[in-house]
């Protein structure tokens, strides 16, 4: 084994029914480096990680870990932890109904001499860990009382505390805002200096260049290459991931058009939902793409949810197509031609144990009602159409949605709404956890839908993405809509508006 190497994987091969997920993949992690694992959705990043952590039972190949003779094959995450591999996954896998401290020590509780759980040192040790990482939480509180971002940080703290040699971070930043991401980076750098090898999986290119030392690229389950960060500028990285030399993202430079002369599709006055979003006014014209910008937890999702009836509005009036309407629950909104892709895919998007076909037709069927079942042939036709249009990577339409990668699941949920042919579509973080190529496709799709006269409400953490597609942006801060920007849209102007302090239009 080479000097300083903590983990090597050679020739890893893994097949899922109908899909070859990994084929002969190599990976090398050195001591004290942050190593980015890059690739599009379904490229095999998560699969490789699951092979390392013992969740997947790979068919061929060997994994070696420094200090251990012979190949290592983990059969469970616990075995992986014992050899020094800790993981924080894309979605938080902690118990929201337990306290932060309990979550930190679940499965390895500090014991007293009598083999009972040592509550005292439990809490004090937890508090110390969190303080050291600069995360301000009360460790005795239940995890569910904290934001998704904090929960993510707790998951990382838990992994870090397990004295790991290899720390795997699988999309840890997808639900963090910029400030929190920076905090995480500080932590990652500290761990690097302590000699921990970190595998970092992310879709945010800028983050790769901010913290990583080395990049390994996968494509369609194959190993493309390993590069020092300096040798692989951004354009080359994208090209390596996509397997071609095109820069789609640059192509859709602000194609959105002004639609303010079109009739109004939605007009909200004084809408609010107690506790989440203060009364706001909101208009959207036919064929218009409006963005909602704001920090995580600023009320940007809640604004959309109040319109859609996901959280029933407590005050205010809503007009759809010029007629005043009352929305008590999502189905009312759907019958008025609305659709909403929620931001929490796992909790509110996918029906995990149903097939892709069933997931796609669900909303359309709900709208048609229980007694007008879509014929099987019709269902299959719609599902196939969506799979083809959105390029869902799957062995077939009857595959369960939970077997797909996150990005492909997202496409299926998007297909569910496109199947209902909505006039007004809310897309809350549609590109979260999605690769660059698909991001560009989704942005193009948004513009195409707008060109067909549909109105789109687009919520994203990536301002650049909204700049490309939106002609207008609503700005949210602390649960309140603080203004709108319609001309002079730029990264800087939006940032300033979000940050506040300056005069708002």
């Amino acid at each position: 084994m080479e000097e300083n190497v903590v983990l090597t994987a050679r020739g890893i091969t893994m097949t899922f029914p109908g899909v070859r997920a990994l084929e002969n993949v190599d990976f090398t992690l050195r001591q004290g480096e942050i190593h980015a694992l890059m690739g599009e959705n379904g490229a095999g990043k998560s699969t490789l990680i699951k092979c390392l952590t013992g969740i997947n039972d790979f068919e061929a190949g060997e994994i070696h870990i420094a200090g251990i003779d012979g190949p290592v094959k983990n059969h469970s995450t616990r075995e992986a932890q014992n050899v020094g591999i800790s993981t924080v996954y894309q979605e938080v896998n902690l118990c929201p109904n337990l306290s932060v401290a309990e979550n930190l020590f679940i499965g390895r509780e500090p014991m007293t001499k009598l083999h009972t759980i040592d509550r005292k040192s439990y809490n004090s040790r937890s508090q110390k860990i969190m303080d050291e990482l600069g995360i301000s939480v009360d460790v005795t509180q239940n995890l569910e009382n904290y934001s998704l971002a904090i929960q993510q940080m707790v998951a990382i703290a838990r992994a870090v505390d397990m004295e790991c040699k290899v720390l795997i971070l699988d999309e840890p930043t997808s639900s963090l805002d910029d400030e929190e991401v920076e905090k995480l980076f500080v932590l990652m750098r500290r761990l690097r200096s302590q000699g921990v090898g970190i595998i970092f999986v992310t879709h945010f290119l800028e983050q790769v260049y901010a913290v990583c030392d080395r990049i390994t690229v996968l494509r369609d389950g194959h190993f493309v290459g390993e590069y020092p960060i300096a040798d692989l500028p951004r354009v080359k990285l994208v090209a390596a991931m996509m397997g071609k030399d095109l820069n789609d993202l640059e192509e859709i430079q602000k194609e959105s058009k002004d639609a303010t002369n079109e009739p109004l599709e939605i007009s909200a006055r004084g809408l609010s939902h107690t506790g989440t979003v203060k009364p706001f006014d909101f208009d959207i014209h036919k064929g218009e793409v409006v963005g909602v910008a704001g920090l995580l937890g600023s009320g940007r999702s809640e604004l959309a949810r109040a319109i859609y009836g996901a959280d029933k509005a407590n005050t205010g009036t809503l007009e759809v197509d010029g007629k005043e309407v009352r929305i008590n629950q999502p189905i009312d909104a759907m019958n008025l031609g609305m659709g909403m892709l929620p931001d929490d895919r796992k909790a509110e998007g996918i029906i995990a144990d149903l097939s892709i076909r069933e997931n796609i037709i669900l909303a359309l069927q709900a709208r048609k009602g229980m007694f007008r079942l879509l014929s099987r042939a019709k269902q299959e036709q719609i599902a196939d159409e969506m799979i083809k249009m959105l390029q869902v990577k799957t062995p077939g339409r009857e595959t369960l949605i939970r077997q797909l990668s996150g990005g492909n699941q997202q496409k299926v949920i998007l297909g569910r709404w496109l199947a209902t042919n909505p006039d007004f579509l809310i897309l809350d973080e549609p590109t979260r956890g999605i690769d660059v190529g698909t991001k560009a496709e989704i942005q193009k799709l948004i513009l195409k839908l707008a060109a067909e006269g549909k109105s789109i409400l687009f919520i994203s953490s990536e301002i650049s993405e909204m700049l490309r597609t939106c002609s207008r942006m609503a700005i949210m801060r602390d649960g309140q809509k603080v203004g709108e920007l319609d001309h002079d849209l730029s990264q800087e102007s939006v940032m300033k508006a979000i940050a506040g302090g300056e005069q708002e239009s």
């Binding site: 629950q329 999502p330 909790a347 509110e348 029906i351 144990d353 669900l362 909303a363 709208r367 009602g369």
Partner: protein, 356 residues
């Protein structure tokens, strides 16, 4: 080629194991018949017998199993839906059966009458009244579970303990006998075939048609798997969960009347006793997860008859009624173990090694 595809469909539809379990129980019968010097296929023999009360009727162990298993099978239909939509069980169905039987008999005999030959109201009114009582109980459970979001077991515990008592109250603390031959029909025979079998077939066919021709099945499973996501996608989860409990209550009512008709009386303390456990077990034996979500109605029905087959087999082997539960438990452990994930994974691995 055709056979292969049927087998392939069976194994992929998760019906394989429930069927294998049922066949296993039957095989035990054959072995014991051989051991005791009987015709090895006496288990499967169906003969016509002349009875004084019902004329020529079908007779045999299979018929007996189908007949005696009717109540559990009918209950299993409703239980499957409840389990799927709410990830919980309705433990009140046995008691509700008893209440429905009492209500039906009270209507037919008149309040306070303990034994009657003449019907006080038309038969249809009594029977529909009994079934309606079941629906009402189901609606009560449904309200608690779907609207007030009380855990299913706790919510249905209320009627589990109260329904029998309400039934006794309705019958003025008496065992009401309805000695009119028309009432005995539901537990008797239609031509040579036992009526409970026919009623079960009708219930299963109607429910299957409803599931096939409407989106109810999709709705129930969707809500059972992810209630929040279903709501965002336009499903009214509350209404769907409520509906499954109402249906479950209705089937309990039907089962209650069948059971009461067999003994032409409303014996509140014994009708449907422990039958909720059989219904839940039937759902589990049918390969359904008690954690809700995907369901398989056919599996539950097969499960119900498997339980009855075990009981009948044990009695046929001369195991005393007091000891039968012990053997039943052993067989159930075996069946549940075959269907468990670790065993399935082990079998799959072995098969893979053998083919490799």
């Amino acid at each position: 080629m055709k056979r292969r595809s049927v087998f392939g469909r069976l194994s992929s539809s998760n019906l394989l194991l429930p069927i294998v379990s049922l066949l296993l129980v039957m095989a035990v019968n054959i072995v014991f018949d051989i051991a005791s010097g009987n015709n090895p296929f006496s288990f499967f023999m169906i003969t016509l017998q002349n009875t004084t009360s019902n004329g020529v009727v079908l007779y045999g162990r299979i018929i007996d199993i189908l007949n005696r298993g009717s109540e559990a099978a009918i209950l299993a239909i409703g239980m499957t839906l409840v389990v799927s939509s709410s990830a919980g069980t309705d433990i009140s169905v046995g008691s509700v059966m008893s209440l429905c039987a009492s209500f039906c008999c009270m209507l037919l005999a008149g309040y306070g009458v303990s034994s009657t030959n003449e019907l006080a109201v038309p038969l249809v009114v009594g029977v529909l009244g009994g079934i309606l009582m079941g629906v009402l109980c189901g609606c009560f459970n449904g309200t608690l579970v779907a609207v007030f979001q009380i855990q299913p077991m706790v919510a249905t515990l209320i009627l589990y303990s109260a329904a029998r008592a309400i039934g006794l109250l309705l019958c003025n603390d008496l065992i009401v006998y309805v000695r009119n031959p028309s009432y005995a029909f539901f537990g008797g025979f239609l031509g040579p075939i036992p009526t409970p079998i026919i009623i079960t077939v009708i219930c299963v066919v109607i429910m299957s048609l409803v599931l096939r021709k409407t989106a109810l099945g999709l709705y129930i499973q969707s809500v059972g798997i992810n209630r929040k996501a279903s709501r965002i996608s336009g499903l009214n989860s509350t209404r769907i969960i409520f509906l499954t409990y109402a249906l479950c209550g209705m089937f309990a009512g039907i089962a209650g009347i069948v059971n009461s008709s067999r003994i032409t009386s409303a014996d509140s303390n014994n009708i449907g006793l422990y039958l909720e456990m059989d219904a839940i077990l039937a759902v589990a034996l049918g390969g359904n997860s008690l954690g809700g979500g995907r369901f398989n109605l056919a599996g539950s029905i097969i499960g119900a008859y498997t339980i009855q087959a075990i009981t009948t087999t044990l009695y046929a082997l001369g195991v005393s009624t007091t000891q039968a539960p012990v053997f039943k438990a052993i067989i159930v452990i075996l069946i549940v173990a075959i269907q468990s994930e670790p065993v399935k994974a082990y079998m799959k691995k072995r098969r893979a090694i053998r083919t490799a």
